[in-house]
Symmetry: C2
Subunit: 214 residues, 2 copies
């Protein structure tokens, strides 16, 4: 797939790198510096390059939205037309202090995004694990029991494509249903963040849903 990374910070930088490692074409965009984008692209390998948000979006099948919530409008404006494209979003709708959700309860960040980018296909994914765990999950991906990663959205084909990306980076995709379920997955992410960053066991945390055999 051709994947544009909109927001090449901790999450976007790592996921883009892993997407490139399994052979996807990746364009990194929207980081603090041009140097950072170039360094990311160089480290990610020959299918990766640095670009502007517009370049990242132009030929992409999917974009990964991985900016702070306060930057969503700006990066979407810079990216240009996303009609028909998949937006996999891990942008949690946090306030400037990162202390609480500014969109919650009877709406979610993912649904708010779908209203901003009406003709794109929004799938909420990748937001529910800390960036710190991504490389170690990827490196262990041949293991029998992979950690889960929930995703939700309203477009079946877009969801299937994102499920493939989730599998590519070493997780077991768990379909949580329609996009409105992001109302639950976004607070779940805050629970994960609490366990990862406020507990004493460190941020390399993943989770697994286990259905019992009957």
């Amino acid at each position: 797939m051709r994947i544009g990374i909109l927001g090449s910070g901790r999450m976007g930088g790592k996921l883009g790198t892993l997407f490139a490692r399994v052979g996807h074409d990746v364009v990194f965009s929207y980081a603090r510096s041009e140097q950072k984008l170039k360094r990311l692209a160089r480290n990610a390998g020959k299918t990766a390059r640095a670009g502007t948000p517009r370049e990242a979006a132009r030929d992409a099948d999917a974009v990964l939205l991985a900016v702070h919530w306060s930057r969503v409008e700006d990066v979407l404006k810079q990216a240009g037309d996303l009609s028909g494209k998949i937006i996999a979003t891990c942008s949690l709708p946090m306030n400037a202090d990162d202390t609480e959700l500014v969109v919650a309860h009877d709406i979610s960040g993912a649904e708010a995004l779908a209203k901003m980018a009406r003709r794109a296909k929004v799938v909420a994914a990748f937001g529910t694990v800390p960036s710190e765990v991504l490389f170690s999950v990827f490196e262990a991906k041949r293991r029998a029991t992979r950690p889960s990663l929930v995703y939700c959205g309203d477009d079946r084909d877009a969801k299937d494509a994102v499920a493939g990306l989730i599998r590519d980076v070493g997780f077991d995709p768990v379909d949580a249903g329609p996009l409105r379920i992001a109302r639950h997955t976004e607070p779940f992410t805050l629970l994960i963040a609490q366990l990862a960053y406020e507990g004493d066991r460190g941020p390399e945390l993943a989770y697994r849903f286990e259905w019992r055999a009957r």
Copy 2:
């Protein structure tokens, strides 16, 4: 421990049965019928009995609050003084239709409960798994990898006691921090409910948090 069950429905009935099986003194109260309470007590063994909410609470070290949210005020009134006692709550603050949280975002059901029962020690626990999975987790409790169960609260001793009960029924207790974290665990429960009741893999669902070894 002496444990009073306030609300002997699907969750309270099963948890009370398991508490009795490991040797705790259990009083079942507040079900649809007296017959149901007596049947539960008979099946749970010789350390269990049926009673009123007041009898369940009177000598208890801990009560399990497991009523529908619309019944919380009523059962607390019937239970009487809970000063100094532990309240382990799995009552999710749902509306009458069970379609959405009526208390959420900048407050949680567990915190609202702590305001109603000011001198009790509230610990949010047991709410995050479906009742359907409890017996199979209990039966598999000698396994090396147990499923997780998150709990949170503001009183250290009460939390330790509840962690012991979580272990007794076969789960690995995961301390999620202060009671306000119930703002995240309660929506997490809705994610679990979605996966358990709306997916195609059935309700016998548990979850496990996995920290990677460094």
